[in-house]
Amino acid sequence: MEHLSLVDWSRAQFALTALYHWLFVPLTLGLTFIVAIMETIYVKTGDEWWKKTTKFWMGLLAINFAIGLATGIIMEFEFGTNWSNYSWIVGDIFGAPLAIEGIMAFFMESTFFAVMFFGWDKVSKKFHLLSTWLVAIGSNLSALWILVANGWMQHPVGMKFNPDTARNEMVNFWDVLFNPNAVSKFLHTISSGYVLASLFVISVSSWYLLKKREKEFAKRSMLVAASFGLLVSLFNLTTGDDSARNVAFNQPVKLAAMEGLYEGKKGADIVAFGILNPKKDIDNNESEFLVKFTIPYGLSLLTYHKKDAYIPGLKELVYGDKEHNIISAKEKIQKGKIALAALKEYKKAKKSGNEAKAKEALEKFEKNSKYLGYGYLKSEKEVIPPVAPTFYAFHTMVGLGTWFIILFALTLYYVMQDKIEQKRWFLRLSVLSLPLGYIAQESGWIVAEVGRQPWAIQDMLPVGMATSQIDTSAVMLTFWLFAALFTALLIAEVKIMTTQIKIGPKEA
């Protein structure tokens, strides 16, 4: 591993902490709502049984919430510790959603969380219910702001580069907030969290039914979770479609990697299942896949809603395509290098008080500033993200998402028909589907983040330029410390959670 550079270790550490953090967040996002729905039924009906059910799921939520906080605090500070150049170059835009997240969402979550757990006998029923809903809203609001920030990294809008400060500065907050990429990302991500939480409740309930215990509790919980799950998974499908269309418009290289599309074509097929040919490169004539099943015209139809729409492949996106007005990466890199040199000239002229030279350099800079980020790249092929992880992660996510819709529909049907207890094969399948939910979650982020490489900010700032200038050994040390600590905490969390599930709701 000695050959890995500072940027590799910085990325590895961020990926490690983000992947761990995301094991816990989606469950919190969804379970807070499921618990709030259950408590609403309790308050409406006055049925103590629902209170007990609410308390049980709330107990599991608390175990998950704690480790979510533990793994979350590092995420915010890592932008400073490991990505300090990034913090300066885009902090003026990126910092704002993070601060708003804290003021608007974190305080709401943490304040009402205490009421939710310790307020049962201290505040009125309605105030308690309000607190539970506020925790759900707070945690989802928190997701909104961090996803606005992430959406901006995928599609930077609402800012302008200021050559005097040598950074990007926000010029329109509303453009940042209502960035189409951010909106679809937010909706897709939170709905995927609701899907996971529904899956969690169904899997745990299925386990009880397999063990022939807590039957009434399990069936009632499944009814709430399957109804909620079916609704949100269908919504998740539409937001996923919207997200993919945004990728097509704003990150065509990522789309090409997601589909393993090396050469552009009109009426492009979508790959339903495929095994990539590892020998394939944009410069050779190897076939793209060893095996594939495609849906004809699927990609063109889904992205542009036109059967014969043109979708560029990696080759065109790297080498350019005049017919379709695609500039080559080489040309972009050249323009980027001109912009970088002009910026340096500008700063130098300013310092020496040579206003005429500064003006000239500024004009040159502004002409090429759109490609500033490309100036940091060394070769044109650097713009291609790792194709295999992006492709497989995308197809895993989509495939599993489809399975969850079927699972929720079947669960709802069997519960409503009161046949769920007899369908033991289905109960087993439901239990086994829980890890698949986590795989789908992590796959989604792999598509989003690996598919964005080499950029920290799409087309603007490559990861290599965004890191803190510290020794690689310092990051290696903290990487292994995080790996050890988070793994230990994860084991503790799983042990505690499974023990609480085994104890069951009777003790709640």
Partner: protein, 376 residues
């Protein structure tokens, strides 16, 4: 409304808000102070359970205050965020590790089959309450003593020593600052126990701790304040922005800003009144006096650090790289936008107060812990 303010006024407003958040965080470290004396005050399991549950209803607010403090710094003063966090790497990472282990400790400590056992989670709380706070104090101390960084013409920062912030631990002032913060946290923790717990042994031990440790705090406080008043500071020219060293800069700042001086003195008096009430009388409200006091003192310290043309983060390597509220802030547009968001702060404080009062209406006692199966 905020658009009418000048860029400098916005920078001052945001420095005030960052200072206020920092001050509220220091007040909330009564949680850490309480954790650090868990075994000193709680001699039996039930007593420790009472303490953990009393603190457990507040710890997330402290945690959130720290996170929001970081977020506000990122948004308002991104160059500080980039320079300090990306440079003093080991110190900040050590602080973060101390807070990561705290976040699971409350929830997991009493849970069956929790992998490490109750004592390890209590050790997590102790580490967070001692090392975590001392290191935060050391990091804050560097706002006076400076760091080894340079900033290039593109405003990108680089640390010049391979110890990445650990060198701050060799500075006596920084250590004294960290220890002072630690004893502030313990004093506040003891006062918090007196106010919120109904268990005579815990109260008795808390009052004893107050009596002894407030002296240690006072010695450290006197040293730190004398050092601040006599040390050199980094001044910058408001027109040319050139930074130079000024003898007794912080004393001059106190004299130039009488309101800040009054705030500092009033805060210190209130803090001492709180200690006196807690240690010498049966009064339970010392936490309010000391709480308000500590907020005023810490806020005043932030104001003398950043106002009156002072570099709040001096560079020991290249004096002109020193950070000021003017050269390290976000753009005017971002500060205006964030200022509108800051209007939500009173609303946030209001609901925190309402919830706090609702949950603290009755003191925690043994009966409550024994009856609640969900206790920490």
């Amino acid at each position: 409304m905020f658009e009418k303010l000048s860029y400098l006024q916005l920078q001052e407003y945001w420095w005030f808000l960052v200072g206020l958040l920092g001050a509220l965080f220091v007040f909330m470290t009564f949680v850490q102070g309480g954790q650090s004396m868990l075994h000193r005050v709680g001699k039996s399991e039930i007593q420790r359970d009472i303490i953990v549950n009393a603190l457990g209803r507040k710890w997330e607010l402290t945690f959130t205050s720290l996170v929001v403090f970081g977020g506000a710094l990122f948004a308002a003063f991104p160059l500080f965020y980039a320079t300090s966090f990306g440079g003093a790497y080991y110190v900040w990472m050590a602080i973060l590790f101390c807070f990561i282990i705290q976040a699971v400790a409350y929830e997991y400590r009493k849970k069956p089959n929790n992998l490490f056992g109750e004592r390890v989670y209590e050790a997590f709380l102790f580490i967070n309450g001692t090392l975590g706070i001392i290191l935060i104090g050391v990091a804050l101390g560097t706002l006076f003593t400076g760091g080894n960084f340079v900033i290039n013409e593109m405003n990108l920062s680089r640390w010049t020593t391979k110890t990445y912030g650990l060198e701050a631990l060799l500075n006596f002032f920084n250590i004294a600052f960290g220890l002072m913060l630690f004893f502030v946290a313990r004093v506040l923790g003891a006062l918090f126990f007196i106010k919120s717990i109904d268990q005579k042994d815990i109260i008795k031990r808390s009052r004893t701790i107050l009596r002894y440790e407030s002296f240690i705090f006072l010695i450290l406080f006197i040293y730190v304040v004398s050092a601040i008043l006599t040390m050199d500071g980094y001044n910058y020219d408001p027109v040319t922005k050139v930074v130079n060293i000024e003898s007794m800069k912080y004393l001059h700042n106190f004299l130039a800003m009488p309101i800040v001086s009054a705030m500092f003195i009033l805060g210190a008096i209130l803090f001492v009144i709180g200690i006196a009430l807690g240690s010498l009388s049966k009064n339970e409200n010392g936490i309010f006096y000391s709480g308000v006091g500590v907020v005023l003192v810490v806020l005043a310290i932030f104001l003398i650090l950043g106002y009156n043309h002072t570099a709040y983060y001096p560079s020991l390597v290249d004096i002109q790289s020193s950070l000021t509220i003017e050269n390290s802030s976000g753009s005017k547009y971002t500060l205006v936008t964030m200022s509108y968001v800051s209007l939500m702060v009173p609303f946030v404080v209001a609901y925190i107060v309402v919830v706090w009062r609702a949950l603290s209406s009755k003191k925690i006692d043994e009966k409550e812990i024994k009856q609640d199966p969900h206790h920490y």
